[in-house]
């Protein structure tokens, strides 16, 4: 119930500040279109590098959105009120994460057919890419909420956030791109998907707790 109120608030904020979620998506597309220009439009080459390129572009665009996640709420005292008040901080964190996924993860998922077209991916690899994005982007959202909560009150946020959460993204990057790669050469990729799901569930269980304590520390 409280979660729904928070979620409505987050979505309303996103609807009013369109740049917050539109820019990362544009960034994703621009980064992707840079690779063929830089490496050369050879279709075979593009097909080989596509899995890694897609995921690196996804990581960077999510990172771009992560920096401002808690900044405004921290500056105008919303976080402080929530910590002081009797409402559950956990509901706020979950709503924040879900709104972040809706605004950054979901668009990437919806864009994936276009991306496959741009990079010349085949049918099988497209399916694998969509599945890894489906399992991987919620994990990205959880981790960026975590990084954002840790650096909320820091003076020099931006580059620090990248230093903190990019290492945590690495396992995700490895398994997601290896799943797409396996699919594109016709191998099974259920194993990688299972590991992605396991990482997502583990993060879902632990990250919200870490985020609430990070919020508490930052306003204490």
């Amino acid at each position: 119930m409280v979660s729904m109120v928070f979620l409505q608030r987050e979505l309303r904020l996103l609807a009013r500040q369109k740049a917050d979620w539109l820019n990362p998506i544009l960034f994703f597309i621009i980064v992707l279109s840079l690779f063929p220009l830089g490496i050369g439009p050879e279709p075979n080459m593009l097909r080989i590098i596509a899995p890694g390129v897609i995921w690196i572009a996804a990581l960077l665009s999510v990172l771009l959105a992560a920096e401002r996640l808690f900044k405004d709420d921290y500056r105008n005292g919303v976080i402080e009120q929530l910590v002081a008040g009797r409402h559950s901080l956990l509901a706020f964190v979950l709503a924040k994460t879900f709104a972040n996924w809706l605004s950054t993860g979901l668009p990437l998922l919806l864009l994936s057919p276009v991306v496959a077209l741009l990079l010349g991916l085949e049918q099988a690899a497209l399916g694998a890419m969509a599945l890894t994005l489906l399992l991987g982007t919620p994990l990205l959202s959880l981790l960026s909420v975590l990084g954002s909560a840790l650096t909320m009150a820091a003076d020099k946020g931006g580059i620090l956030l990248a230093l903190l959460i990019l290492p945590l993204y690495i396992p995700l990057l490895i398994f997601a791109s290896s799943a797409i790669e396996a699919a594109s050469i016709g191998l099974g990729y259920q194993g990688q998907l299972a590991i992605l799901l396991a990482m997502l569930l583990l993060a879902l269980a632990l990250v919200p707790m870490a985020v609430t304590s990070a919020l508490r520390i930052n306003v204490s």
Binding site: L150, T151, K156, G157, P167, P171, I217
Partner: protein
């Protein structure tokens, strides 16, 4: 146990306790390091396959094990600091972080030097190498995060939290060579079976590992003492100590 530990949460007691331990730790670390390394580097037999180049194991393995040991120690301190709200434990986290980072760098560099003659490449993107590199990034993240806040107390708490979150990487590093069948060899001594290394090479290696552990303790004591003085510089006992 808590009754026994409780006085050491007080910075003054801990400062003097560390000061008392420090000379013993330093001397024994130096002695063990000399003994283990000279024995290992000069007096052990050469490996039947790798010749003399395997001798770097006496630096590589201790630093790699202790880079993870230091992380475990740092994370335990972070846990104590966050759960029981003990200030000196936060300083301990920050005291250990740079030492652990240096151990990690030593492990990576010696590993590269060993990899070149054995695998033919300075660096391969193998699971264990990658996760050790992530460990280095985590150490650097803890150090950088602490420096980013104008409020020092918040910085200390947040970096403790990050140290705790990073614990997830430790089992990944340790088991990476078993989960992924990669180039890096499996464990030779840290397993529940007869070590797969000859006793004549095992003993100097164990002594070197102990030396790195004691050195870690000694340096932590040293850095912790400095941190206590820096953070408590306005307390009367510190002023009396430095005669200001």
């Amino acid at each position: 146990m808590f009754k026994w530990l409780d006085p050491y949460a007080k910075s003054e007691t801990l400062y003097h306790f560390c000061g008392k331990l420090l000379p013993y730790l330093m001397v024994s670390a130096l002695a063990l390091l000399l003994l283990g390394n000279i024995w290992g580097l000069a007096f052990t037999p050469a490996d039947y396959q790798q010749g003399d180049s395997y001798r770097i194991i006496h630096i590589h393995v201790p630093s790699a094990i202790m880079s993870m040991g230091a992380y475990a120690a740092m994370a335990s301190a972070a846990f104590v600091a966050l759960v029981w709200q003990i200030k000196v434990a936060h300083w301990a986290v920050l005291a250990i972080a740079p030492i652990g980072a240096v151990y990690t760098v030593i492990a990576l560099v010696t590993g590269m030097a060993w990899g070149k003659p054995m695998w033919g490449a300075w660096w391969v993107w193998d699971a264990r190498l990658t996760s050790e590199l992530i460990l280095l990034f985590l150490y650097l993240g803890v150090i950088a995060l602490n420096g980013a806040f104008s409020d020092r107390q918040v910085g200390a708490k947040v970096s403790s939290l990050l140290a705790l979150i990073g614990v997830i990487n430790l089992p990944i590093i340790h088991f990476s060579v078993e989960w992924w069948n990669t180039l890096h060899q499996g464990a030779s001594i840290t397993k529940f079976a007869k070590p797969s290394i000859d006793p004549s090479m095992l003993w100097p290696l164990l002594i070197s590992i102990l030396a790195f552990a004691v050195l870690l303790l000694a340096l932590t004591c040293l850095r912790l003492r400095t941190a206590i003085l820096m953070n408590e510089q306005h307390r009367p006992w510190v002023r009396k100590l430095v005669g200001g």
